[in-house]
């Protein structure tokens, strides 16, 4: 079944795109898109970078660490932006949380 609903994105969440949302590079239009039921979203470059890091293993804190290092930017500002972006995606129903490893 799908992941939990009403996801609240925090530093410790490990978000991942659900099966029905596919991140893809559109060769025709030369843009990244998220394909979802009856929707095509156009994430900007930074969102694409965040989503590529959201592999279900890394948590939001890890993602922010990596981006902060890469762009030599303050981690707290990056973290806040990442959470806002992911929460927006979650509220639209295009983000799930990786399942806890139970075994």
């Amino acid at each position: 079944m799908a992941g939990p609903r009403n996801i609240s994105v925090s530093e410790t969440s490990r978000p991942v795109l659900p099966r029905h949302a596919k991140l893809k590079y559109d060769e025709t239009r030369k843009v990244w898109v998220i394909l979802a039921p009856e929707r095509v979203l156009a994430p900007d470059e930074i969102a694409v970078e965040v989503l590529q890091l959201c592999d279900g293993e890394r948590n939001v804190g890890d993602v922010s660490d990596q981006l902060a290092a890469k762009y030599a930017a303050p981690r707290e500002a990056i973290l806040a932006d990442v959470i806002v972006m992911l929460q927006d995606l979650a509220d639209k129903g295009f983000l799930t949380e990786a399942r806890e490893k139970t075994s």
Binding site: E27, R29, D88
Partner: protein, 399 residues
């Protein structure tokens, strides 16, 4: 960065539900290939819904594209930049080769959506579709209670079967959309439909008020809601959207009969949508064949789909604003709604180039919509069921 998902998630126009990547790219000349295409792979269907969006003149099975022809179409669509395909009908699962077609679509990189009545599906076949790469399932519901739902669909046992298939869909981890077509005789069930969608673990609900062309126009007197019903419907949807944020996405298609401004039908003729009929005609909208005097090109012709989209007469006839007459021609909203729906203009005025009577500026607006209002208050509840014979009137006792 907060604007990352800025423009593209606007819910679609009233007539279709294909959201666009860049809705603001509206230069009159450049019509890029649509992101999503509707494939009506057959007109055969076990249901007989009186508001069916198929044309009254249905394509018989002998005219349907073959498996190989559909596969060629799918490859071509992927090649020219289409990203999503919707397998629809008729009832798409009536095609024996559906799994093969979905597999091929996935292989060429298309995002696949199945729009189904669900009544022909077995768990095994649904599982095969999932394995073939199906991304999303959309099941139509005619109500929440067996008596009414089966009567609207004209198919006994249908509602029960739909509930079963919806459960299988989620068990197979496929995302589910509940598609509820609303009209006077089932609008009172809307709160229950919302609850049913939550109970079925659907991600999306489409509350689609009937659009009155083709079969629905024949049945308008039995389907047209009252103004009070619609206001209540809008209130319920808005409240549920707020309550279910992050849990259930609700797309709301409002009927245009009581509006003062027409809908930007299909996002404008030939601007961001086409569909392919069972016989392979490339159409600017699924009702386009109801407009007589237009010649629609087929994928069986010598022309490529991209050529048909860009150059064919049918697509260019009502593109942009050059074809418009008054009051559209000088209207400040002409680039906003493109004069509404061409099929509705044709059905209600006899000329597709007239202003859609849904627009208050149409000279016919008042007459037609007063008539609809009277019909909504009327007692005519019997349906004319959709079938290949041109329709059958429901018997007095509703059988």
């Amino acid at each position: 960065m907060s604007d990352v998902l800025g423009n593209p998630t606007i819910p679609p126009d009233a007539s279709d539900s294909l959201a666009v990547l860049e809705k603001s790219r509206s230069t009159a000349e450049a019509f890029g290939i649509p992101l999503a295409v509707l494939l009506e792979v057959t007109h055969r269907c076990p249901l007989q819904c009186p508001y069916c969006s198929n044309p009254v003149e249905l394509d018989r099975s002998g005219k349907e594209l073959t498996t190989e022809e559909w596969k060629k179409v799918l490859s071509e669509l992927a090649e020219i930049g289409v990203l999503q395909v919707h397998f629809s009908g008729g009832e798409p699962t009536a095609r024996k080769d559906l799994v093969e077609l979905v597999k091929h679509a996935s292989d060429v990189g298309l995002y696949t959506n199945l729009i189904t009545s669900a009544v022909l599906l077995t768990r095994e076949r649904l599982s095969e579709l999932a394995d073939a790469g199906l991304c999303h399932v959309q099941i139509s519901f005619q109500g929440t209670e067996e008596g009414l739902a089966d009567r609207v669909g004209g198919y006994r046992g249908g509602h029960h079967k739909k509930l079963e298939v919806a459960k299988w869909t989620r068990e197979l981890d496929l995302p589910l959309t509940v598609n509820a077509v609303m009209h006077r005789q089932n609008l009172h069930q809307l709160p229950d439909i919302i609850q049913m969608s939550v109970d079925l673990d659907a991600d999306r609900l489409e509350v689609a008020n009937v659009q009155y062309y083709g079969w629905a126009l024949k049945n308008r007197a039995a389907l047209m809601p009252t103004v009070a019903q619609l206001d209540e419907c809008t209130r319920i949807v808005e409240e549920a959207r707020e309550q279910l944020k992050g849990r259930l996405t609700i797309d709301y298609v409002v009927p245009d009969y009581y509006a003062l401004r027409p809908k930007k039908c299909m996002g404008g003729w030939g601007r961001q949508f086409f569909n392919i009929s069972p016989a392979g005609k490339v159409l600017p909208c699924h009702a386009a064949e109801s407009i007589t005097g237009l010649d629609f090109e087929s994928v069986r012709s010598n022309h490529s789909i991209a050529w048909i989209w860009q150059n064919s007469d049918a697509f260019n006839r009502y593109r942009g604003t050059g074809w418009m007459k008054e009051p559209c021609k000088s209207c400040e909203f002409r680039e906003i709604d493109f004069g509404g729906c061409r099929c509705q203009a044709f059905a209600l005025t006899g000329d597709a180039a007239n202003t859609d009577p849904a627009c208050a500026l149409s000279p016919l607006h008042e007459t037609i919509f007063k008539q609809a209002e009277r019909e909504a208050e009327g007692e005519t509840n019997r349906f004319i069921y959709r079938n290949f014979a041109g329709g059958t009137l429901e018997s007095e006792n509703g059988a």
